[in-house]
């Protein structure tokens, strides 16, 4: 006997239901389960802008890494629709718990894109106030954030912030995770907790087909969305390159959560067009052919095709492009000006106070800084 070999990538694709509201050629259709008649051209134009700006943040940061300005960057290229569609379904009072790759969600939560750079430049660990944006810090420990989202959702229940039918008041949480993360014990436990307490949490899994080099098929024998049934809640599989579908499905799941209907698992089927990070070499584990096929499902091109057919003007597209250029320039400028961290200051963030023993260590660090400065002068 031998162990089953790693299944070929793609073995799970295609055979299962996938919610799609905008096909790759830009044709719109409706799904009675996820009504989106209220979504009009202006809103889709807004999302188009979000998608283009998200991509620009990503490609600009990638270039900054290549120029040595960032130590690392995990590209979101190809996953913009999943991030923008779900991110735009959130209300201000909802709370999102992201991973390191969810730049588009950060943007939707009002985090200034320049604030995404510090972690990867090595100047800081978290640059925004998670409470202010109701957007957590990027989680690098795979899966850990799903428990945090569930616990936050339990807090919403304890606070009675669910089930009033009041759109200003009812709240939910959303946890972002990857396909690889679904193998972590923390994620299984978060599913158990969420179901047990009927917590108002949406698990939004971007199935981008790979966990670094390991294909989806090593993590699961069934589509990820099917896992939810075993825990006792709904799982929905959605075209992750379709911003309309991602929005409609996430909006419905969040509303169910805010209404007291408990958790939902959304599997957004997408593809990581870039490397895992700038340190990765995908040619070692996947074919150019495969990547090329996914290119035809580009999340931005289909929205553009739809909008063009709907009569969006060339001026509109040009203005978005111009805005993206400005954003790119702003990112380049801001990156070089990110303040350098000061080790001495960091001692004050270890605890809420600075115990005398730690203060003594800080003084030691300060003395070394003074020496180094003298040495440099």
């Amino acid at each position: 006997m031998t162990l089953p070999m790693t299944p070929q990538p793609g073995a799970l694709a295609g055979e299962h239901e996938l919610v799609q509201l905008l096909s790759p050629d830009g044709t719109r259709r409706h799904d009675p389960r996820f009504p989106d008649d209220d979504v009009e051209r202006e809103q889709v134009e807004g999302w188009y802008r979000d998608l283009v700006l998200t991509r620009r943040i990503d490609t600009e940061a990638f270039a900054l890494q290549r120029h040595g300005e960032l130590g690392l960057w995990p590209p979101a290229l190809g996953q913009e629709a999943a991030q923008v569609g779900s991110g735009r379904a959130l209300r201000p009072q909802d709370f999102a718990f992201p991973t390191y790759r969810d730049h588009g969600v950060a943007y939707c939560r009002g985090v200034d894109p320049t604030q995404l750079l510090g972690l990867f430049r090595g100047t800081e660990l978290g640059s925004w106030d998670p409470q202010e944006h109701r957007y957590g810090l990027p989680q690098i420990i795979i899966g850990a954030q799903t428990l945090h989202a569930t616990g936050y959702a339990m807090g919403l229940l304890l606070d009675g912030a669910v089930g009033h039918g009041d759109p200003e008041r009812d709240a939910a949480t959303i946890a972002y995770l990857g396909d690889g993360a679904t193998s972590q014990g923390d994620v299984a436990e978060s599913f158990v907790w969420a179901a047990s307490y009927q917590a108002p949490v949406v698990f939004f899994c971007q199935n981008n087909q790979y966990a670094i080099s390991v294909p989806l098929e090593r993590q699961t024998r069934v589509p990820i969305a099917q896992r939810a049934a075993g825990f006792g809640f709904e799982g929905i599989r959605v075209d992750g390159n379709d911003v309309l579908a991602c929005h409609a499905v996430t909006r419905a799941a969040l509303q169910k959560a805010r209404d007291g209907g408990g958790p939902t698992l959304i599997e957004a089927v997408t593809y990581r067009m870039g490397a895992h990070t700038t340190s990765d070499d995908p040619t070692r584990y996947r074919t150019a052919d495969e990547t090329e096929q996914w290119k035809a499902k580009d999340p931005i091109a289909r929205v553009r095709a739809y909008l063009e057919a709907e009569g969006a003007t060339p001026d509109f597209f040009a203005s978005v492009e111009a805005e993206a250029d400005q954003l790119g320039a702003r990112l380049r400028e801001a990156c070089a000006q990110l303040p350098e961290p000061d080790l001495a200051d960091l001692f004050s963030s270890v605890h809420t106070d600075l115990p005398p023993e730690l203060a003594a260590q800080r003084d030691d660090a300060v003395a070394w800084q003074a020496l180094d400065e003298r040495g440099a002068a």
């Binding site: 031998t2 070999m5 130590g71 390191y100 420990i141 690889g180 014990g185 090593r218 990765d280 963030s349």
Partner: protein, 326 residues
């Protein structure tokens, strides 16, 4: 004598290969270790050459990796598992502390646990958070685990093989910032056994004690000190649990001064244990209290200041001065 030049990472790869050729019960498991060859390429080409049954790309879960390794051990295998980075070992902490460390003891010796857990550890490579940690003391203080760390390609090549041959579980700490450093490997003779410390440089004025990534830094400090006429002895502990302190005591009795260096945070790091043991054994020979040069008691900082956090040649020499002026 057959010597070859290898990088430290390449030497571990060669050592793994030799162990796998020798014993077909040796299997490798981890995230991205097969097709990709590991994020540091330490297992490069091993899956191609030994197949997917011997080199397994596992699902993404450290508790799963270590927990299933315990089952494989019970079935007579000798798993070598990779934890991708130091900061990702904690999901497996329960399996390591409650299961791996205790199985031999609980079974009154009936079940042996020939498991190796490879962990690239330490900072200095400009990485993002959770990728630069030094958790070794947490395993050293766990009774039932053995912990070693290599500092040279030669040791990397031999120590990984000896760890695999050990019937006890071994946490194998790999100094990731030294993966690319090259050195001579004598593939015919390990020289010393896995559990011994070695003197890397002779000196009479003070004893530097280190392991893993800090051995090179201490040797650099000794070179600088020598320019000023100060002769530092450098000891590479190699095994952190059990400790081989005979050479340390012998050295400190001669020099009268000891400086322990590690990247890990100061409080209850290895330096605490070493300081206690040296004080107990060398009390009357000590000219100064044992000095510790370590990371500060804060979570690993953003990488732009990691060089201020990590022990440097200057900080080591300053500690030597303090000991000399005491």
């Amino acid at each position: 004598m057959t010597t070859q030049t290898m990088s430290l990472g390449g030497a571990i790869n060669a050592g793994l290969r030799a162990a796998m050729e020798r014993d077909d019960r040796v299997v490798l498991m981890g995230e991205d270790i097969g097709r990709l060859g590991g994020v540091f390429r330490v297992t490069d080409a091993l899956q191609k050459d030994f197949g997917e049954n011997r080199v397994m790309d596992t699902p993404l879960g450290e508790s799963g990796i270590v927990g299933t390794a315990v089952g494989l051990v019970t079935r007579g295998y000798r798993p070598v598992v990779e934890i991708q980075f130091d900061g990702f070992v904690y999901p497996a902490y329960d399996q390591l502390v409650s299961q791996v460390a205790k199985l031999h003891f609980r079974s009154a010796g009936r079940i042996r646990v020939p498991l190796v857990v490879r962990i690239p550890f330490g900072g200095g490579i400009g990485a993002v958070e959770h990728h630069s940690e030094s958790p070794e003391a947490q395993f050293v203080m766990t009774a039932g685990l053995k912990v070693v760390s290599c500092a040279t390609p030669h040791d990397a090549y031999w120590m990984i093989q000896e760890a695999i041959e050990s019937d006890d579980p071994v946490i194998f700490m790999e100094p990731k910032r030294r993966y690319w450093e090259k050195g001579e490997v004598d593939t015919s003779d390990p020289g010393v056994d896995l559990w011994s410390s070695v003197v890397r440089r002779r000196g009479s004025d003070a004893t530097l004690i280190a392991y893993g990534p800090m051995v090179r830094t201490c040797l650099d400090a000794a070179t600088t000190a020598a320019d000023e006429g100060i002769e530092l002895e450098v000891i590479d502990l190699r095994s952190l649990s059990p400790l081989d302190l005979g050479p340390v005591f012998e050295s400190v009795r001669r020099t009268g001064r000891a400086v322990v260096v590690h990247e890990a945070q100061r409080t209850l790091g290895l330096g605490a244990e070493l300081s206690a043991r040296i004080s107990e054994e060398c009390f009357y020979s000590l000219e100064a209290p044992v000095q510790r040069v370590t990371g500060y008691d804060m979570p690993y900082p953003p990488s732009r200041v990691e060089n201020e956090f990590l022990p440097s040649v200057d900080r080591i020499l300053d500690a030597v001065d303090t000991a000399k002026e005491f």
